[in-house]
């Protein structure tokens, strides 16, 4: 089963951070407080979009062909993602 990484507290909806990491080979655990990388803070759909965009060499035209969508639709999706990332960065900086 492909488990979804939770990024938001189900109780108060604040952003979650990483509490512990574990080596699967030797079971060593590291405990601390690590913030999630920005990429992992995005939802699955946005992460897929970014991966597709990189695989398309950053070409919106190629992306539009792959997704069977028009160029302005894909450009609008990218603009929304840029806005979302900017908001995330602003929240982190505040």
């Amino acid at each position: 089963m492909n488990k979804k990484l939770p990024i938001q507290c189900p109780s108060c909806h604040a952003g979650l951070s990483v509490h512990s990491l574990q080596c699967d080979a030797c079971q060593t655990s590291i405990i601390g407080s690590f913030s999630l990388p920005l990429f992992l803070s995005l939802d699955d759909k946005d992460q897929e979009f970014i991966i597709e965009f990189v695989l398309s060499s950053g070409s919106l035209k190629v992306m539009a062909q792959k997704l069977n969508l028009s160029y302005p639709t894909v450009r609008n999706m990218l603009d929304e993602l840029i806005e979302k990332i900017s908001n995330f960065q602003n929240n982190i900086n505040e």
Partner: protein, 202 residues
Amino acid sequence: MNKLINPFKYIAGWESFFIGLGILFATAFVGYLSGVHFPDLISVKTSSGLPFIVILAQSISNWLVLSALLYFAGIVLSPSSIRFIDVFGTQAMARFPYLLVASTGFSPALEKFGKHIMWSALSIGEPTDLSSVELTTAIILIIFTLLSTIWLITLAFNAFKVSTNLKEAKLIISFIVIFIVSTIITGFISNNILKAFNVTFS
């Protein structure tokens, strides 16, 4: 359903431009054959005998005026880098419902209904008898034209939304203002086209 009211999610750019040009030419040609023309952005009138070039010039002016103003609004108001070809192409495609409306002139019921109303309400023209079949046909065609107009406005709105990435108040207010202004400008241009070709209506 989504493709009927927002095909621009899937088609834009040069593809929509060439499809749209085809729609504009076909609309003018069908209008020429059926005796229907479009004297402004949304008006539909029946008058047989208009030269093809006049109906084509009206159709192209309706498309160009609206597209140019929407493109200008997009450049000024949108944070996205918008493309000329997306705005003009999708707006041309959005004229598709009037290709269907152009064919309503093939039925003589609409023109007869118009003459009947002009005579009975304003005493203009000559008395025209209207059978119940002709009356029903005319009412159906009028409802069809109204629905097509709503469809055309919905398509033009969605084309503007997709091609400029405007949202909320900016999108709605700019579209309404531009649509009204375009209707006035195209009406004025259309009058001048008719004058230039010495077309008068009796």
